[in-house]
Amino acid sequence: MPPHLGDSHRRFLQSMMSNSVMDEQQARALYQHCCDIHKAQCVPDKLDDFIETINSKLQPMFMQIRKGMSEDNGQQYYALVNMAETDVTRMSSDYADNELELFRKTMDLIVSSENGKVSSTDVLNVADTLTIKKLKKSEAEQVLNRLVQDKWLNEKRGEFSLSIKCIIEMEPYIRRMYEDQLKMCHICHNVAFQCQICDSPTCGIKIHNPCVARYFKGRVEPRCPACDEFWPYEIPGISFYISIYKST
């Protein structure tokens, strides 16, 4: 039988509900904080066990605290996700049906794109093709703003990509729905949206940008891990990711 939860677990779970997504450092600090408040034992490297205990109790509700790597900075993030798709979960009312349709179409564009991004112009164009109820341009812009604010999409210089929270929660869905369009990272074997693709026509493997940085770090001449051809892209340095990380 799984161990019982204490108030430290409950507080951690509640914080995951209100914060929707947090990086590893924040999760560790939260773990410490929750244990301190409720005078529970905190073992610094046992965060994942602590979370596993909570997950065992969340499982009947098809909820889970899950981990994933951000394609932007290579950091691990934690998010509380829903795993059920039922009549009850479809009553969720954060977005109207046509707003959800816009989100789905944005996802279609992102998944089928080369670089895991879509321009706001392209998204606003599909807002015209919604079947449920069309959105005016200004309305569609507002929906996109909300999706960014609620951390389902990232926006950078007029381009949208899937947020880490979205990837963590939606990965099983994306694997199921976009089976034939998916790119998988050769290094970490997870779904890849923003990645580099091997130039060699017979190979064409994909590697996440942060995985590229990690894999080629310290190598004199970068070569494809699958076909050994020269890897012709700029290798983002680890320091590059650290600087992004600090600026966000």
Partner: protein, 227 residues
């Protein structure tokens, strides 16, 4: 009754657990917008065939909210059977997510009502809000609508008609959700901070804020017409 017995015989323990989990999902969905859950809706949309063993299912639901989430499901209206979720854990600074400006506005209104001994005329409330934030607001949109519609539906506020007024006038009271969720003592502390004044100098409010809480939410229905 025999219906209950038949219900209990019909479903296995794990079926009942599964139904309880669905009820929890439903309540969490309704709570996204802080709208109270109506028992009739719960029965219609989720419980269905399990309606005859409602107490048995709800026992499991309450237990899970308590043991897993640290939350408490409370019936705030025993006539219409409305339920809300409240937190069992003491609020902590900084642990919550991004600040919600609407909660700030609500806090101001609740403070005003509490300091005015439980009731503030609608006109006076909006005059005060108008002075503080203007009529239309970037973050709140239509302030009046937010207050009279959203906060009232969430049961943070109650909008009550003042008897024998012509034209008709309304006043705001604390709603049942506010009574359960919001600490009057802490509001009074904030008032003391703002006015640079000892909270005890508002002796009536102080007495009310530090009175022992009622054992259970009141079961009687206020006897006045509501909007």
């Amino acid at each position: 009754t025999s219906q209950v017995q038949r219900g209990l015989d019909k479903f296995t323990g794990s079926q009942m657990d599964q139904k309880a989990a669905e009820v929890i999902q439903y309540i969490l969905v309704k709570d996204q917008k802080k709208i109270p859950v109506r028992r009739a809706d719960l029965v219609k949309h989720v419980l269905k065939d399990y309606r005859y063993i409602y107490p048995e299912i709800m026992k499991r639901v309450l237990q899970t909210f308590d043991q897993v989430f640290g939350l408490k499901l409370v019936e705030i209206d025993t006539k219409n059977h409305l339920y809300i979720l409240i937190n069992k854990l003491e609020p902590q600074e900084g642990a919550a997510g991004p600040p919600n400006p609407k909660m700030g506005l609500l806090f101001v209104i609740l403070s005003l009502i509490f300091m005015k001994r439980g009731a503030v005329k609608e006109s006076e409330c909006f005059q005060c809000l108008l002075y503080i934030c203007g009529e239309r607001h970037e973050q709140f949109g239509d302030v009046k609508k937010l207050v009279t519609d959203e906060f009232v539906r969430q049961r943070y506020l109650e909008c009550v008609r003042i008897p024998h007024t012509e034209p008709v006038e309304f006043e705001f009271h604390w709603g049942q959700r506010a009574e359960l969720e919001v600490s009057k003592a802490k509001i009074l502390d904030f008032m003391g901070e703002l006015h640079n004044q000892d909270p005890q100098t508002w002796s009536q409010q102080y007495k009310e804020a530090h009175a022992p809480p009622p054992a259970a939410p009141s079961t009687s229905q206020p006897n006045h017409s509501q909007r």
